[in-house]
């Protein structure tokens, strides 16, 4: 796993510092393989477009009067996409990458739809992905803050009270094996029937999805100081509050951030799923659902990628905060 070649080997001769050499090696080590994998995925995606869209590209060609191999449409419908593409290679290839409502839109079509949705629309517009993203993100963040706050509070209680530890923690752990997202539709409808709608029901779903990972991770983190460290503070005559503030809390930070990253991803999924059942008019979930109703595949893919980018940004932002905080605390992660 570890590179054993001497640092001075690369870059030392042309006067770069070891740090720069390390950095260069890091690029050669990860960037090239990752770029290759991503390029391979894109290539496979383009290739897959040909058989996936063969039915409609051959149909369009037949309508335009070009001779296609099985002449009757009924016969063509019986065939698989791959067989049809092999029977009419030219038509299938030329028609695969520009269809409207394609079964599998090509990457550049999705990118164009993403671009049109973000840069091509005014932000307040109903077609703007930035607007839908904000609707989903605001519910996600509100829920995430509530869920994390409650989770940390419960974890503090669990660490300090043996009764809570023994009675609540097993249920928190079991709850991780339960697909709690199944409650989402019910929460939306129940809160609606008592007059609460809008951002709050989605935030409630996000909150309970991020709550349990934070509880479990934070309990682990608050318990991570070993007996020796606790004993040292005890010999200093530290009170429980001091032990908490000066030892347990700092020690728990790496664990907290690990579970925060899981929690924010879960929160986002919660907010998206929360937009499904009521036929919400805004948000990524609404875009996905509307796209699947009307067969607007590009819209679905664009919403999916926008959601993925949003999730990556959230997790990335937490990572930046983590690095800055742990760096200042003298704990390099």
């Amino acid at each position: 796993m570890t590179d054993t070649a001497p640092i001075s080997g690369q870059g030392a001769g042309i006067g770069r510092s070891a740090r720069a050499a390390l950095w260069m090696r890091g690029i050669g080590h990860t960037l090239v393989p990752v770029a290759t994998i991503v390029a391979a995925i894109l290539g496979l995606w383009y290739l897959a477009c040909i058989p996936m869209n063969a039915q409609s590209s051959v149909l369009a060609a037949a309508r335009a009067g070009i001779a296609v191999t099985p002449e009757s449409p009924a016969e063509r419908r019986q065939m698989g996409g791959l067989a049809l593409a092999l029977a009419n290679p030219e038509v299938a290839v030329s028609g695969a990458f520009g269809q409207d409502r394609a079964r599998l839109p090509a990457p550049h079509q999705v990118a164009a739809e993403l671009w049109a949705g973000t840069a091509g629309e005014p932000i307040g517009s109903n077609r703007s992905l930035v607007y839908h993203g904000w609707v989903t993100l605001s519910a996600t963040l509100l829920g995430f803050v509530i869920g994390t706050g409650l989770g940390i509070a419960l974890a503090v209680g669990i660490v300090h009270s043996r009764v809570m530890d023994m009675s609540v923690l097993p249920w928190a752990i079991v709850s991780q094996t339960v697909p709690i997202i199944a409650i989402a539709p019910m929460i939306i409808v129940v809160l609606y029937s008592i007059g609460i709608q809008g951002i709050v029901p989605k935030a409630v779903i996000s909150a309970y999805l991020s709550f349990f990972p934070v509880v479990v991770g934070m309990v682990k983190g608050l318990r991570s100081p070993d007996g020796m460290q606790l004993d040292l503070l005890a010999t200093y005559g530290a009170s429980k509050a001091q032990i908490f503030r000066k030892l347990r809390l700092p020690a728990s930070m790496p664990y907290l951030f690990a579970s925060l990253k899981i929690g924010i991803a879960a929160s986002l999924v919660g907010a998206i799923v929360g937009e499904l059942p009521t036929g919400a008019s805004a948000g990524f979930g609404a875009r996905l659902l509307a796209g699947s109703y009307y067969g607007q595949t590009e819209q679905i893919w664009a919403a999916l990628f926008a959601a993925a980018i949003l999730a990556a940004l959230c997790v990335g932002a937490l990572g930046v905060v983590e690095r800055a905080l742990l760096g200042r605390m003298g704990m390099r992660s």
Partner: protein, 281 residues
């Protein structure tokens, strides 16, 4: 009001009993460790029942546990049908395909270092994304029946499983591999006799994470379209009819399925990785 105050008294009593148990002399015995959470859970259920009855909370907001239990018993046939559709057909088949595929790719990635360095960051990145959003696309491709749900589950479990297996295969030390080399073991022998067994704790970690993901994928995919059975389908239609007792019964089914599935994998893990420090007592 009588029932509500009864609930509060019950809460105080149960908490006192748990406090006595947890701080008492037998706190570390297995019996007490099991009893305390059970008492807590039972108290919550009893309070739920008493408060719902005492305050006359309408059914469309929160049905009492007894009503849910009655519905569960009444419609056990429907629930079983939904369970088979969602869990056995959708989640389980997708879980098996996804985990086997991820394991195979992990072996390949482990063999070709370039592939490992490329796939691991991509896999880590994908594992954090809201993959469940692929459900509408896969439902469009594979139809409304269980095949599309299995496809969603395959995509969901693939990346966590891949990342864990690759990490596990890197787990053996240089000394152990050198030993195998001095024995003159081939790549395949080293893989089968040393590295795969050593990777098992990681593999099972991935398998356990994937149990929950599989159920989530199968249920959420049904929100995007399904035949007229399945846990997710029943939840979304019963919510529409405000039949919340049925919704809770389905949630109980999902919870039971999830816990038992996880428990089954954990039990297998205990037998396979009996040598691991976390299982030696």
């Amino acid at each position: 009001m009588l029932l509500v105050s009864l609930a509060l008294i019950l809460w105080a009593g149960a908490w006192y009993a748990n406090a006595r148990l947890a701080n008492g002399p037998a706190a570390d015995s297995a019996m007490v460790r099991l009893a305390v959470p059970l008492v807590f859970g039972a108290t919550l259920l009893a309070m739920w029942e008493l408060i719902v009855r005492g305050l006359g909370v309408p059914m469309v907001i929160l049905p009492a546990p007894s009503v849910i239990a009655a519905t569960f018993a009444d419609r056990i046939g429907t629930l079983w049908e939904d369970f088979v559709q969602t869990f056995v057909k959708g989640a389980l088949s997708g879980y098996a395909i996804g985990c086997v595929a991820a394991f195979a790719v992990a072996i390949l990635a482990d063999r070709v270092d370039f592939l490992r360095r490329g796939l691991l960051p991509v896999g880590n990145f994908m594992a954090a994304l809201p993959i469940v959003g692929t459900a509408p696309i896969l439902v469009m491709w594979f139809g409304f029946d269980w095949q599309s749900k299995a496809a969603v589950v395959v995509v969901m479990v693939f990346f966590p499983m891949l990342v864990n297996t690759v990490a596990g295969l890197a787990e053996t030390g240089a000394m152990q591999r050198d030993l195998m080399r001095t024995y003159g073991a081939s790549y395949l022998q080293t893989l089968l006799k040393l590295r795969i067994p050593a990777a098992m704790p990681f593999v099972f970690n991935g398998l356990k994470i994937s149990t929950t993901l599989a159920l989530i994928g199968a249920i959420v995919a049904e929100f995007f379209g399904s035949p007229i059975r399945g846990v997710g389908f029943r939840i979304s239609t019963s919510v529409g009819q405000l039949a919340l007792d049925m919704v809770w019964a389905e949630i109980a089914v999902a919870a039971l399925a999830g816990t038992l599935f996880y428990g089954a994998i954990a039990a297998v893990e205990k037998r396979v990785t009996f040598w691991h420090p976390s299982h030696r007592t």
